[in-house]
Symmetry: C2
Subunit: 226 residues, 2 copies
Amino acid sequence: MSPSYYSQFPKFHVAVDCIIFGFEQGHLKVLLQKRPFEPHRGEWSLMGGFVKADEDIDDAAQRVLNQLTGLHDIYMKQVGAFGNVSRDTGNRVISVAYFALVNIERVNAELNHGNSAYWEDMEKLPPLLFDHKEMIQSALKKLRAMIGHMPISFQLLPKLFTLTQLQMLYEAILGQKIDKRNFRKRVSEMTFIEKTNQVDKLTSKRGAALYRFNVETFNQEPIFKL
Amino acid sequence: MSPSYYSQFPKFHVAVDCIIFGFEQGHLKVLLQKRPFEPHRGEWSLMGGFVKADEDIDDAAQRVLNQLTGLHDIYMKQVGAFGNVSRDTGNRVISVAYFALVNIERVNAELNHGNSAYWEDMEKLPPLLFDHKEMIQSALKKLRAMIGHMPISFQLLPKLFTLTQLQMLYEAILGQKIDKRNFRKRVSEMTFIEKTNQVDKLTSKRGAALYRFNVETFNQEPIFKL
DNA sequence: AAAAAAAGTGTTCAAGTGACACTACTTATT
DNA sequence: AATAAGTAGTGTCACTTGAACACTTTTTTT
């Protein structure tokens, strides 16, 4: 038994698939693309890619996200490994799913439209390749479990946002209405969600105060409950 | 671009590693073994194995669990994929970790001692192979998040158990003391944790009522909060 | 009969959660 | 100048949940 004891065992293609969430006009969205190669070319699918020989899986996910969106250093969370024998009908491929939360406007500036990428509303997902819908559902479940404890949802919003936007975001992710006064009460307890003196006048005649997430204040007292 | 488009990409050994939790004498334990092959033969490690070419990853985890313990159809939960380039110093191996909860007595009857398997207390883990300690920590974190909502902890106990045992189990998993009266109050609200008329006299002179988890009652009203 | 050992049992207070409806401000329209 | 339109913003109360807390009961052993 030399170090090549391993070599008696089969090897597999390993891919990463990215569930890239965005938020626009009160709707939670996912970035989909038409698969650019055979088999199943042209079907709607998540953005994915094969892991390279000298690459950590986490890094592969970052690379794939970057290829599509141009973004670097985005927080990505592993959803899990999907490894049924017949999940990929082309060949045996084990895929590790990751999700990311991104600001749609920042991404659209950089989107490589040669990829025919498209933001699809989570409520209106078309049929998707293989088990990609299952991956999205798992990712959403994980996201729902996390947003109450970790301030990750701000990644989906512009730097400055109104409390109505923030509330609509939570409603979209959780899939349920939230009481406005209770929501704002909780927000006001988080000192790191701070009011600026700027006003957004796009959606109301009165105008709404713009808020910002202050990382430094959060690091001093990282207690988050929404 | 034929169906062998995939073939330009590298392939990897894919393994599963099993975190097998047990509970004995008030302590949460993990089943470890001395690695039976090179490299690193003899180091303490989780029970693992390579995925076969025609095998779902979930099935591979079940197979590995069965090889070591003889148990079938045990609930296993995926912890995640561990895929850093240098996690396995022997060769690139991507490993998917799973955890299972088993009854130690049932397992010990079947344990293949040729594997030199050993139940180690979670508080006293020795240095472990590669990233196995990290896998165990992730598994414990996941377990902690689950036991409050799902009645999985009963897998760790004998069919009949006392409330003191059940409480010690929760204390061991959560790593903190629980108030006895509050705990028993909550248990008494779960009608599917039912008192038998049998009594355990091993640990007290008075004797303690033995309880059982009733699956049928649980299925009728699957609301679990502990 | 007394001591030992763990089982079993309620109440009270604080905190958190959820339900609920009107006023304030600005702009556009007449 | 008045009013209509449209969203922002604001407090209270009832209820539920969670946390703290100590003594009595039962049986066996000495």
